[in-house]
Symmetry: C2
Subunit: 404 residues, 2 copies
């Protein structure tokens, strides 16, 4: 049986960035850029006032003179009609172009208007003060954002400022979620005997959306070969399909059989891990639209197994499809706040809560096992205990896999 | 002039959680719950197998016996038709109900089938092994999520499992974004002399979306009182309006005048801060739909002033409207990686990049001032330098306000 690390390496080996495409800028937030973007103009396009006040020639103020004749007024959107004459100041607004000859802007708070003159107050006015020279931010033709950049809000603004309303970017991965099992009823129904509500579809869709994906929930599939074939086949148009249930040992192998019939190649099935051992991973056939085959994760139906499988294997795969730089393992070392007795021959991901303090520590929760989602809903993540029966004391270091 | 802390206190005092409403579960991810949610059933609703294998009576195995007659097969969705007879095992699937009399589940990997019998292998089978007793996760009527809980994916699953398809929650704040100024042209146009592309609308909308809000961009408003009145009036249907430009000293006061005409009460104008001093904050009239008055932020038109104003004042306000617990100041102390000479009589937020290392440190970037968005696009946040001219050495501690 694969270890968690081996399984993760295998998943990563099958997850390459999706083919880039043109994306409207308004939909590109958070995507990874797939082109170098160059400026189409100098920015600022002119010597630009950074303050409201008066454009001046500092030479006019060199001999202690503080009084200048106010010439034209340059509001934003207007341009100066003539150079600044000696002894003259121009009233100027933030963002407006400096008149030729001006070499400083005096902020309005340091001036006093006296009829058609302005009096400069306060300390000496220095050249280059309070304006940005043409091209200081960028020069026409210069690359301002490079391929691989993640589109943050300031970068979105930068793209708008160089005239881009569309960018070549790696699209958001599309995830299809399918729950399987005759025992499932939808959340708005009251389960009969032996039945249970389908909570996995809601949870897995939310996990995919939280990871920045577009997610679609397909109809719940009964334990019937033809129905499974039809519904799982629809999921093969997505970049990733998450199938919940039908992969553990006692199942009648309907889900793996449906995958096989659909041409999904199995990469591995089962990982040395608790909860989540029966995880099935495979790759669908190359898609008609030229996209690579769908990554197919068959997650165990117990909800906590689904969460752990998602965090450990699906989330890293989604990041790679989205072109994000492969982040190091998200788990990090913390101290145990309380002792814990671990039993079992598989590494165990046990729901735990962060405890505030000078250094972070975690407290494992009283947990009913892989079907007990309620405990996970009050957890911050999972404390990781290696295989083997052993008592851990408070203060010992363990790994912690955060939920968020 | 207010300090940053005074201004933030003032903004916080005007930002209360929005009135809760019914939200479909599929749209509730990330929202704050405004009701206590109780279970409508016991979960699991029956003693539930956590493994695929065989339900057994451990008493049958007490005297070294390892061989049991296989009675019925209980697949998921089916229920046992009769109690387990002495000497008998029932084949059982993960998630299925235990038959009466069974007190353990033996995982299939530890069994061997021999005709109509099953042979149990490995260590002793203990009572309570591999099944979850009815009601272990929750009891009918028990509160499983309380008001104030933030709806994470596991909590979304939990809500589905107790039959909720809609919840009473604090809605996502709705943000209207308006850029103003005659000098602006849209990003798809080539600016003429004295003109500049509108990058703020794209950036501010992205900041609002990143903060978990629904954001709408209104038409760009020219420097005309009636047009401003009409466009800004539309923004007063939102929970928050972000207006970019028209609030600095040299402007013709058109934006503050339009706010006044619309009944927006000014709370403050100007903060001792660089960049972003001219920030205008006010509260609109109570809305016809019963919602409190729109929080109106007039942000300076220079893009970096807008970013800093958003991070310092708008983001905390949005969190409070969304009902999130008021987070402590997001800024944190870091060491300077490189020396820096600060000049100026206002606290300055200077774009800086995080430097990897044993302890995080930051390096201030070579920045052209409040109009230079390009430098911010390559920054991780802002290093904060208090008012006053002073040289900072590498290794000194400064505050750092992260962008993300």
């Amino acid at each position: 049986m694969l270890t968690v690390d081996e399984a993760l390496r295998s998943v990563r080996a099958h997850a390459a960035p999706l083919p880039p495409r043109a994306v409207p800028l308004a939909e590109a937030l958070g995507l990874v850029l797939a082109e170098d973007v160059a400026a189409d103009l100098d920015l600022p396009p002119f010597d630009k006032a950074l303050m409201d006040g008066y454009a001046v020639r500092t030479a006019d103020l060199a001999d202690g003179n503080r009084r200048l004749l106010v010439g034209e007024e340059i509001t934003a959107g207007r341009t100066p009609t003539r150079p600044l004459a000696p002894g003259e100041a121009a009233a100027i607004m933030t963002g407006a172009p400096l008149p030729a000859g001006a070499d400083a802007v005096v902020m309005v708070e340091r001036t006093r208007r006296a009829g058609d003159h302005v009096v400069i107050e306060g300390p000496d006015v220095l050249p280059r003060q309070n304006w940005l020279p043409r091209g200081r931010e960028m020069r026409s033709g210069e690359v301002v954002l490079t391929r691989g950049a993640s589109l943050t809000p300031p970068r979105m603004g930068l793209l708008a400022s160089v005239g881009r309303t569309s960018v070549h970017a790696i699209p958001r991965p599309r995830v299809a979620v399918v729950s399987t099992g005759d025992e499932l009823v939808e959340p708005d129904q009251v389960p009969g005997r032996g039945q249970i509500r389908n909570s996995n579809a809601t949870m897995l869709r939310a996990l995919a959306v939280s990871a920045g994906c577009d997610a679609e929930t397909l109809p719940t599939a009964p334990d019937d070969p033809d129905a499974l074939h039809a519904i799982l086949g629809r999921g093969l148009t997505a970049d990733v399909m998450l199938v919940s249930g039908g992969v553990s040992a006692g199942n009648r192998d309907l889900v793996p059989a449906a995958f096989e019939r659909l041409g999904v190649s199995n990469v591995f099935h089962k990982i040395r891990l608790k909860p989540g051992k029966p995880l099935w991973f495979g790759v669908g056939p190359a898609r008609p639209d030229g996209n690579p085959g769908t990554l197919v994760f068959g997650l165990p139906g117990n909800p906590v197994s689904g969460v752990v499988g998602f965090l450990l294997f699906v989330r890293p795969a989604l990041g790679l499809l989205a072109g994000q730089r492969d982040k190091a393992d998200r788990a990090f070392p913390v101290r145990l706040a309380t002792p814990f007795a671990h039993q079992g021959d598989r590494p165990t991901y046990h729901p735990a809560r962060l405890v505030e303090g000078d250094t972070p520590s975690v407290s494992p929760l009283n947990w009913g096992g892989s079907a007990d989602l309620r405990t996970v809903a009050s957890a911050d993540g999972f404390a990781v205990f290696p295989a083997g029966d052993r008592r851990y004391e408070a203060g010992e270091i363990v790994q912690f896999l955060p939920l968020g």
